[in-house]
Amino acid sequence: MKHQYDSDAATTLYFLKEYDLIDEFKLNIEANHATLAGSSFEHELAVASAAGKLGSVDANRGDLLLGWDTDQFPTDIYSTTMAMMIILNQNGLAPGGLNFDAHVRRSSIDPTDLFYAHIGGMDTFAKSLLIAHQIIEDKVLSKFVEERYSSHTSGIGAQIMSGKVGLEEVEKWVLNEKNPVLQSARQEMLENIFNSYIF
């Protein structure tokens, strides 16, 4: 369908809340449906997980150059490692799992190709599990993220988040302060760290 009522995670979560279904369902996120919806696999997983609603995963991959559901087996270690970080950070998928909603190419005609395809998908996710587990254990990324938002743990940041101050109090606080000091978001450094766990 051109406009699907469950086109992405945020749309589906809104629908479930609007119609009082949110307590009965979780989301089954498919990698290729994420890319078809103009988003990324990890974004869809993160949106579902942040809502406490990541239930299961259709583990496959699409092709950004093709506008249809190619349902290929997952082999992209970057994407699957990001997925495993989100899954581990929410303490797993059970009772859900990783379902290979994927098929071999039209030219892969032998039954043995079905084994190669699944072995590739399983090994990619297994390697990703090992990498993601180590990144999380070492807290290299989580420490940085925690630090990045640390201005909310005390002072005006904590007061804003706890609802203790409104626009008037905030304006008063700003007028008494100097200009804010910019901090680097360090994306390239973090990408290098992420890579260092992969290769």
Binding site: G92, D101, T112, F115, I119, K127
Partner: protein, 218 residues
């Protein structure tokens, strides 16, 4: 059992990252602990029935390219039974714990709704027996509410109440089948729940219908 996959003589083994054997795992070591859980417990892999056993290589420019031994019987129920034998041989040889299906993957549609239900019941019985023999489990089941031409304008959101009711009855049977097989989840995919043009669509009504449909299901 080596009927449909003779080229894979035994279960795929973990051989470590330096293995050059294309029929071995290099990283997936089922019982290896990662943190507090084994790899199998973390990953909970499932094989998708529709792609792996029903897929025939068809794409938008050409028909069947796979000649699967298990799809050769001319009688649809014989074909379904052979497909199920092949599926469980595959699960065991791959060493995977779970599978997933749509109702219409494991059992063919009959010429009436009642016949389709009967076919599903027969195949669920066979699956139950094979699950018991092999220890393979069902991760989730679902109803195929997109393949049949009656669903071209939606299943739950179809403007025709008769079609919406048919879809709901199909879901009832698919949920029963999933429960009978000890399925750990049940999935809904609204592949036809949407619209092509507002010129013929009451968007609000369709969303209400979809919500009502899901409320009926639990």
């Amino acid at each position: 059992m080596s009927k449909y996959f003779p080229a894979v003589a035994k279960q795929i083994q973990y051989e470590g990252k330096d293995s050059k054997n294309p029929l071995a795992f290099r990283y997936y070591n089922k019982n290896q602990k990662v943190g507090s859980k084994t790899m199998a417990e973390h990953l909970r892999f499932a094989v998708a029935w529709w792609h792996t056993f029903m897929g025939d290589g068809t794409d938008m420019f050409g028909g069947t390219s796979f000649q699967r031994e298990w799809r050769k019987a001319s009688n649809p129920m014989d074909r379904a039974k052979k497909t199920m034998e092949a599926a469980f041989e595959f699960f065991q040889k791959l060493g995977v714990d779970y599978y997933c299906f749509h109702d219409r993957d494991i059992a063919p549609e009959g010429d009436s709704f009642a016949k389709s239900c009967k076919n599903l019941e027969t195949m669920v019985e066979m699956a139950k027996k094979l699950q018991k023999e092999t220890g393979v489990k069902l991760l989730w089941g679902t109803a195929n509410l997109f393949g049949n031409a009656i669903y071209t304008q939606g299943a739950a959101t179809n403007p025709d109440a008769h079609i919406m009711a048919t879809a709901a009855a199909q879901v009832k049977n698919a949920i029963d089948a999933t429960k009978e097989l000890g399925g750990e989840n049940y999935v809904f995919w609204g592949g036809r729940e949407g619209y092509e043009t507002l010129l013929n669509t009451d968007l609000k009504k369709e969303q209400e219908k979809l919500a009502r449909f899901l409320h009926m299901a639990f």
